[in-house]
């Protein structure tokens, strides 16, 4: 195998205000023909910037300041824009995170597919179209003969991502850069896309750079793994070596995140704090929830698990009163909860608080931390002046942010993890008994997410809080839940304690869900696919 891509001493700077800030700080990278390299790191580690640089491309506001990028022995840094245009798509191709945003919604898939080969003159329209159908078949897309004639919005997310990979394959490039191709997908969809990508890359002996923050995913896909942090290489090694014997402390800490675990606790006796009884809910005429029942004891954590469209967020809307149920009741401390938000009293609202998925939109960007956290104190508890100030400071200490530094900062000056902590402080300020956590860690990096989970567990131990945890991430569930409810298509598929749900026997959907979660083991994907092929476990989600 010969060297395909050689990057030496690459430095890339991005414009911040008046000056330049180095994003990639001298990275060396080698890639052989047909090899798959996994790029792992937290957001801001420079992995996407490096991936794009492999195509000789720099985002707006960035520039390559030093180093060389040799593709097939040709330096992309000094290549003319014309030359780069002829290379991109033909020798190197790119698959972006959001296929939905990367396809032009106004054109059919196959028309976008043939664009590349026609532009580069590698084949004519009918040959390219025939090739598209062939690739669609190899990528195991349903109805490969027809799917190309659909528009992007008529195809599901997982299928789009596969069509995108086909498109990258159109000119049979030497190298494909995959930038988090499965991050936006559900686990059961992810597994199909991973399998398809792995197969086609191997079949055509294409080299790939696979960018992701998910270690379990990368260990299925890559021959070698490179860990990046703050624009520098932390460690490079073969996948097997990297998994079994990471050398650097940072790499070890990334590996350790998944080991967060809480021992099971016995179920306390007595009436539940909140009981959801036979809830049905509709959006217009479409039924979103169908006879959903479960209850939560005081001081416990219940996780509601499901994929997008399973109705797990709708449960939160019914409980908070944003979407009045069309049937069934929610009982709070054995009294029926008024279905509509407007009918609930302030004292009741205070006890049910919510923490949101996206910390960027959950806090008003025009307010300071003091205003955001202080408002519930005044609104619910009537605190003012010195009393309020003291409470504010103790809340900030509870969420482990320094009050002197942060209280008067605008929200916009905080990082994602800090914003999420402020979201927690806002919920705590109301002194609630029950907090709904809606995917609170899904937009955060693993280390930051772990910090948030630990904080939530600590607060539960101190304040006796009850959580309803809505998530699609089974690793989170395993880490913190006492009870688990599995939902699909608006129905409860399984419910029980964590040990009951995670140990067999499972209903088919739970089995599918559990078996789709990537494990930190290079042979996992192969094993699961074989098991599914031999019919030991269900392979496809039942149709709606």
């Amino acid at each position: 195998m010969s060297e395909l891509l050689t990057i030496r001493g690459l430095k890339i700077a991005g414009r911040t205000g008046a000056g330049w800030n180095e994003i990639v700080k001298g990275v060396d990278l080698d890639l052989k023909r047909g090899e798959v390299l996994g790029l792992v790191g937290e957001s801001g580690a420079g992995k996407s910037t490096l991936g794009l640089a492999a195509m000789g491309y720099c985002r707006d506001g960035c520039r390559i300041t030093d180093g060389s990028i040799l593709l097939n022995g040709e330096d992309l840094r000094i290549a003319s824009p014309r030359r780069l245009r002829s290379l991109r798509g033909r020798s190197v191709a790119y698959v972006a995170q959001s296929a939905a945003a990367s396809f032009n919604p106004a054109h059919r898939l196959i028309d976008q597919f043939v664009e590349g080969p026609l532009q580069h003159g590698t084949s004519d329209r009918s040959t390219a179209a025939a090739d598209a159908v062939d690739l669609y078949r190899q990528m195991q897309l349903p109805h490969p003969d027809e799917i190309g004639f659909r528009y992007p919005h008529e195809v599901s997310g997982g299928q789009l991502q596969r069509a995108m990979t086909c498109m990258a394959m159109a000119c049979r490039p030497d190298l494909i850069v995959f930038d988090e191709p499965t991050t936006a997908l559900d686990v059961t969809t992810q597994i199909d896309v991973l399998a398809a990508i792995r197969k086609i890359v191997a079949d055509y002996d294409t080299a790939a750079i696979y960018i992701t923050h998910d270690l379990a995913v990368v260990s299925q896909m890559a021959d070698r793994i490179m860990v990046l942090r703050h624009g520098k290489v932390v460690e490079v090694a073969d996948t097997a070596t990297m998994l079994s014997a990471p050398q650097q402390a940072y790499t070890k800490s990334l590996w350790a995140v998944r080991s967060l675990h809480r021992p099971s606790r016995p179920l306390p006796a007595g009436a539940p704090l909140i009981a959801i009884d036979g809830i049905t809910a509709h959006y217009g005429k479409a039924r979103a929830l169908d006879d959903v029942s479960f209850s939560i004891q005081k001081g416990r954590t219940l996780a509601v698990v499901g994929e997008s469209g399973s109705g797990k967020s709708t449960v939160a809307k019914v409980v908070t009163g944003l979407l009045p149920a069309t049937g069934g009741t929610v009982r709070w401390k054995d009294k029926p909860l008024p279905p509509r938000l407007e009918a609930r009293e302030r004292g009741l609202l205070r006890h049910i608080q919510m923490i949101y998925q996206m910390p960027d939109t959950a806090l008003n960007p025009r307010q300071t931390i003091r205003e955001i956290v202080g408002r519930p104190l005044t609104f619910y508890l009537g605190l003012r002046g010195r009393e309020k100030e003291a409470r504010l400071r103790s809340l900030m200490e509870q969420i482990e942010l320094d009050p002197d530094t942060y209280l008067d900062r605008p929200v916009t000056a905080l990082s994602g993890g800090q914003k999420q902590r402020i979201g927690i402080a806002r919920a705590l300020a109301a002194e609630p008994e029950f907090i709904i956590c809606d995917e609170v860690t899904s937009s955060l990096d693993q280390l930051v997410a772990e910090g948030i989970l630990k904080l939530l567990m600590k607060l539960q131990a101190e304040l006796g809080l009850t959580y309803m945890f809505i998530t699609h991430d089974l690793a989170t569930v395993k880490a913190i839940a006492d009870e688990v409810v599995v939902m699909q298509h608006g129905k409860v598929v399984e419910k029980g304690t964590r040990d009951e749900v995670f140990n067999p026997p499972h209903p088919p959907y739970t089995e599918l869900l559990l078996s789709s979660v990537p494990e930190m083991d290079a042979g996992w994907l192969t094993r699961v696919l074989e098991a599914r092929a031999s019919g030991q476990v269900p392979g496809q989600a039942p149709p709606r």
Binding site: L341, L349, M354, N364, P365, Q367, P376, F379, R426
Partner: protein
């Protein structure tokens, strides 16, 4: 301060200077103007110079003094009218964006009807019915300009109302007024402010146009629009005096637009 001047484009500085001068003239008109607003000081249509810098008008009043008092009336009324339109329009717009449903539909359709009639004709009809007085004129123009402001505020607020922090405030049990004033308004201020500058120009021209047609600010009150009309016959004799109030209208409009452009640019830059 020096830094500020360096970063600001020259057009914006020019615009701010013009606005500042106009504001000073308007506020201190009685002190600055050489003669009274309606004082007859000499013969009609006296030429420039000779004690009357810009000559006299069709009734023998000092042109310069009337220009200075005109700034007060024309610009002052335009600000008042625009402010009323914005107060009502943005409040209504944000309110329906939060409420949605039939309230949104009803108010939206009423506004559509208001916008379907050409504004000048609508104003002429309403003023013909109500009689032309300054309060009537302010009210009529304000109502007409509520419509575009309402639509802008509603569109801008719709984007914000979708965000989680609005939901968080609703779940907290906050009232509509708090949501409008504290949660949404601060997030759309820059958009509204830029629109305010633009609408102010329209209103300003609208008042001038109405005055020119004889339905706006009534004589003998000095106002730039009606001053053009009163002295229009001079143009036939090759005298440019009636164009001076017209030029003043143009200058203020351009100046405000310069400043608005700059503010819009800054607002969009801040969002990045």
């Amino acid at each position: 301060m020096l830094n500020f001047l360096k970063q600001t484009p020259p057009t914006a500085i020019f615009g701010m200077l013009v606005i500042l001068v106009t504001a000073i003239l308007a506020v201190f008109a009685p002190l600055i103007a050489p003669y009274g607003e309606t004082q007859i000081v000499g013969a009609e249509y006296l030429p420039w110079g000779d004690g009357y810098v810009l000559g006299t008008d069709n009734l023998g009043r000092d042109m310069l003094s009337r220009m200075i008092f005109g700034a007060r009336n024309t610009v002052g009324l335009a600000i008042l009218t625009t402010a009323i339109a914005f107060f009502i329009g943005s409040f209504l717009g944000i309110f329906v964006a939060l409420k949605g449903g039939w309230i949104d539909q009803t108010v939206g359709r009423i506004v559509d009807v208001l916008m379907a009639v050409p504004p000048l004709i609508l104003a002429l009809i309403l003023l013909a019915i109500l009689g032309s007085s300054i309060p009537n004129m302010v009210a009529v123009i304000a109502v007409i300009y509520v419509a575009p402001v309402f639509r802008l505020a509603r569109a801008a607020a719709m984007d914000i109302a979708e965000l989680d922090f609005i939901q968080a405030a609703r779940l907290r049990g906050e009232g509509v007024l708090w949501l409008i004033r504290r949660e949404i308004l601060p997030n759309i201020t820059s958009t509204l402010l830029a629109e305010f500058g633009l609408r102010f120009c329209f209103v300003f021209l609208f008042i001038a146009a109405l005055s020119f047609l004889g339905l706006g600010i009534q004589p003998p009150t000095a106002d730039w629009g009606s001053m053009v009309k009163e002295n229009a016959s001079l143009i036939a004799f090759g005298d440019i005096t009636p164009l001076i109030p017209a030029a003043a209208i143009g200058l203020v409009t351009v100046a405000i637009n310069f400043v608005v452009d700059w503010m819009l640019h800054r607002a969009s830059g801040l969002k990045d």
